[in-house]
Symmetry: C2
Subunit: 345 residues, 2 copies
Amino acid sequence: MTDTAPRPTLEAVAARAGVSRATVSRVVNGGDGVRDVLVERVRKAVDELGYVPNQAARSLVTRRHDAIAVVVAEPETRVFADPFFALQLRGISKELTAHDNQLVLLLTEGRDDHARVARYLAGGHVDGALVFSLHLDDPLPELIQRAGIPTVFGGRPGWSGDRREVVYVDSDNRGGARDAVRHLAGLGRTWIAHITGALDQTSAADRLDGYRDVMVDADPRLIAEADFTPAGGERAMRELLERCPDVDAVFAANDLMASGALRVLRGSGRRVPDDVAVIGFDDMRPVAEQTDPPLTTVRQDIEEMGRLMARLLLRGLDRDAPREGVGATPSSVVLPTTLVRRGSA
Amino acid sequence: MTDTAPRPTLEAVAARAGVSRATVSRVVNGGDGVRDVLVERVRKAVDELGYVPNQAARSLVTRRHDAIAVVVAEPETRVFADPFFALQLRGISKELTAHDNQLVLLLTEGRDDHARVARYLAGGHVDGALVFSLHLDDPLPELIQRAGIPTVFGGRPGWSGDRREVVYVDSDNRGGARDAVRHLAGLGRTWIAHITGALDQTSAADRLDGYRDVMVDADPRLIAEADFTPAGGERAMRELLERCPDVDAVFAANDLMASGALRVLRGSGRRVPDDVAVIGFDDMRPVAEQTDPPLTTVRQDIEEMGRLMARLLLRGLDRDAPREGVGATPSSVVLPTTLVRRGSA
DNA sequence: CAGCGTGGTGAGAGCGCTCTCGCGTGCCGA
DNA sequence: TCGGCACGCGAGAGCGCTCTCACCACGCTG
């Protein structure tokens, strides 16, 4: 633990380079409209002095912070038990870094923490926010929307706020679910069950919808509600076996639950995929590849989702983000999913 | 995506409350030495105007940012494949939030990114840094040390820098490994093998040392070097079986590798724990509880490590962090581990 | 009653930067 | 040759805050 030394200011650089503060500022910020000689001289002085601009002073006048908040609103520890969040963060970080933005991480710690986060966001410390709010009844999205700060959501916010346009990035949960169920049907399976995720999350609801799209008049007993956890998957699988012993396929709303289901199936003496085919969702490698048999699942490009969120936000801030042709006002994006065939179906 | 409205300034609040800027400032920052009447009046004005201090302006004069950088230097995606990192982050976040500090996340993106991070840290944007640098040859710790910014490391940095005191928080990797191996020995096992982690990381090296502490004159063939991945664990286990078919216990340096080893053992027709007992390290629940049989492992309190890192750093900054009696200069902490008995040993 | 603290308040000087504005220089066409 | 017009550069005014310092009332002591 060492202490910070006094840092050189613009003034100091200017003095050393024999120019004015303004010129140094110009050079530091791109150097347009300054003769090459001077640019060179200033650069040298900057190097020699080890000058680094004071971001606080800069923000004070520009009202920009080049910082984006990433808000993770998750009451439970669950997000942390899977790499989902970390991968998104990674994508976000890459994109932000590429555009010289910092990432300020805000994790909510329980119920009353929303206010703190909202206050922070409203406080103008950051230029925008990337928000992960997975629950339908979460008050956070609305609070943030009210804070009047540019925001992009991770996953469709299941939230019936006012008509202001909400920008989000999501996977095609419904389509992916359809693909999974169709694949099972294509395998000749007829009793295709579904283990849902926590239905207060849009992803779970959408996957259920996808299942229903294909299984239009499915026996309701084929649907077991769970919560995205392995234990929940086990419980649901047991229920299903009890209710419908003839079940010959299971589509679980995520890999974790699928792994739980697999265990129960094995315990019940069923062979996978011979007796019962199983498909998960997410393609969490550490889980999906390690199950026995390896899990067939629906992959979503999680890192890309993160990257896209950041890109949309920065574009909305109309900064140096890539333009890619069209409109200035970014709109939501739904990324495709792909079915990854492994051993379980 | 909405735009930010013009925010009220100290001046505005002062005008409304009929006092001077200085007084408002005093109230906002604790309100000592101001008559209760005025405090009340100012508070009211603040509320009515929805005043939030401009952090940039404040930092400009105080030279404090109330922000801490968390640097994760991990070339591979590995950190992201496990909840380790996320849990530490959570602990860190809790502690920082409790002391009104923001968390700025810096992820390195490959080799040349160190310079960027070092520059940022040296730039005085944050008050301190929490650094995760897992590799022995990582230049980052030294760069950061040179940046002259208060730093606490996550895990013992395996780095032979100069004699300046380095503060870190680590698990008792060596002790935990000893416990694991002793437990296996206590089970009557004699051919106890070790699957190492990536030995360029201190945690792996320390766990190996712990193994050696107990198995003082172990047959070198009982040690297989791997890399913390499930695939590496599989490979190492195959090697071990080939070299020493009589192996009756395995201590893997983490749960992921243990799960790989488990699979290979099962594939080779061995029963766990009857024929071969297996112990992992980390106690990553999603992995350890889902293996077949559930994994006996060495638990470390990851979230607590994170919390402790933050606490040490804040204390070093000598701010409102808890004092807990003693010295102002914080020193490294090594947290104890505990053996968690499940089915595999 | 003069003198002197003492606690509450306001005035004002910056913190380090950006950005507008205006001035000086060199170069063009008339 | 001279007026104009770029263009390059510097002076200076803030951005919103903190913090020192001087000021003013008190109430106290000598």
